[in-house]
């Protein structure tokens, strides 16, 4: 039997609220609180906080689980550690619409309540670069596409990991060239631009990422869209006009050419 009058610490009151005490001590404290209104008030306030948190977020667990979090969609890409195939990645790709008025900038720039993920920040940088340079007629790039070897060496050196500038000729896109851009967290980023027969432009933005890998994601606005992912600690953002099928074809080709581990294994 525990002494009813043994001193009650604040720690114990927390444990009491959280159901961490053995039954006899719990009962003893309940009785003790009757004679200690100040502490009883404290306990009530903590309980009210917990209830407010549960009232606010508890129902999330009852929402239907979105398709992209369904395990059967994720297992194919996640279960096998032998590289991720584009097909399973694309199937799980989250589609998140831009807010209307793309010119106001990436949705993270003020429109959403919480700050974006670092990954989204990289994507925002990439889309800013896309908007800025894709309209350039005379100086869209620093190094023209016919200096591919030089550009590969230069950007590999500056970014600190091997650059594989994808060849998109098979899908009708010519390499316009590339440039060095400021990347996230003070690192450098590489930016490559491609052009199709009717002048449509696509860009690849690559920078070091903080997470080793992520699922594939897709964002689309009225005029532009992006596929983005992280593989082997490198983020890739493929941007272009908002035509999902066409952009997916480009992103798939990029993915297959930059995915070193996948290339080795297949």
């Amino acid at each position: 039997m525990i002494d009813r009058d043994s001193p009650v610490t604040e720690e114990e009151l927390h444990a009491y609220v959280d159901g961490e005490l053995p039954a006899d001590r719990r009962d003893a404290i309940a009785a003790w609180l009757i004679g200690h209104p100040e502490q009883a008030f404290q306990v009530a306030a903590w309980r009210a906080q917990a209830e407010a948190i549960r009232a606010r977020y508890g129902a999330v667990a009852n929402e239907p689980v979105p398709g992209r979090l369904k395990l059967d969609r994720l297992t194919q890409q996640g279960g096998a550690s032998s590289g991720r195939s584009w097909k399973t990645l694309a199937a799980a790709a989250a589609v998140i619409a831009f807010l209307a008025g793309g010119s106001a900038g990436w949705m993270a720039r003020g429109a959403t309540v919480a700050a974006p993920t670092s990954f989204e920040a990289i994507t925002a940088d990439a889309l800013d670069a896309y908007r800025l340079y894709v309209v350039e007629v005379r100086h869209p790039v620093e190094v023209p596409g016919n200096e591919r070897v030089h550009m590969t060496q230069w950007l590999t050196k500056r970014l600190g990991y091997e650059q594989r500038i994808p060849d998109l000729q098979p899908i009708g896109l010519k390499l316009v060239g590339g440039r060095l851009l400021p990347g996230p967290t003070g690192a450098a980023a590489a930016f490559y631009m491609y052009e199709g027969a009717s002048g449509e432009r696509f860009t690849i933005y690559s920078a070091p990422a903080t997470s080793p890998e992520t699922a594939l994601r897709y964002k689309a606005g009225d005029r532009l869209a992006a596929f983005y992912w992280v593989d082997d600690k490198h983020a890739y953002v493929v941007s272009g006009p908002a035509d999902r099928d066409q952009l997916e074809k480009v992103a798939k080709s990029v993915y297959e050419q930059v995915d070193k581990s996948g290339a080795r294994k297949s």
Binding site: W46, Y57, G58, V60, V113, P116, S118, S211, T214
Partner: protein, 163 residues
Amino acid sequence: MATFGQQVEATIPALRRYARALTRNSDVADDLVQDTLVRALRSEHLFHGGEVRSWLYTILTNLNRNRLRSLARRPTLSPLEENDAPDLAGPEAGWRDIERALATLVEDQRNALLLVVLEGLTYREVAEVQGVPIGTVMSRLARARAQIKNFLEGGRPALRRVK
């Protein structure tokens, strides 16, 4: 005995709830859950028994920490909504209060509090998730509760009247 996959699947709704409360943004939260699941499925071979649930909470908590760290190195993108949204009445007003109160917490304290009061983990389980002694969990909880109380009593009116 449920398979690994079944145990993971059964935890998804709770992970979404925890992530939503951690990030207070449903897209960011589901991104976090998706990355957690991808990580878990790829690392199944690293899972040596024990509770799948706690392990998933650990992964999610760590991924969120990475997310916050890399955000901290970037200029803050201040949410416009903060001042532009009309003042709400009814239960939604209380929602905003608790959201804002949670936002003022130090990350480790917020994690500890949400794992206990929202996810129903024991102190021992939270200690495991956070990789700290139980005593540290308890002091995080105490500080979190004191901060929320302080915020709800003091900080709120000034914030809400900005408009």
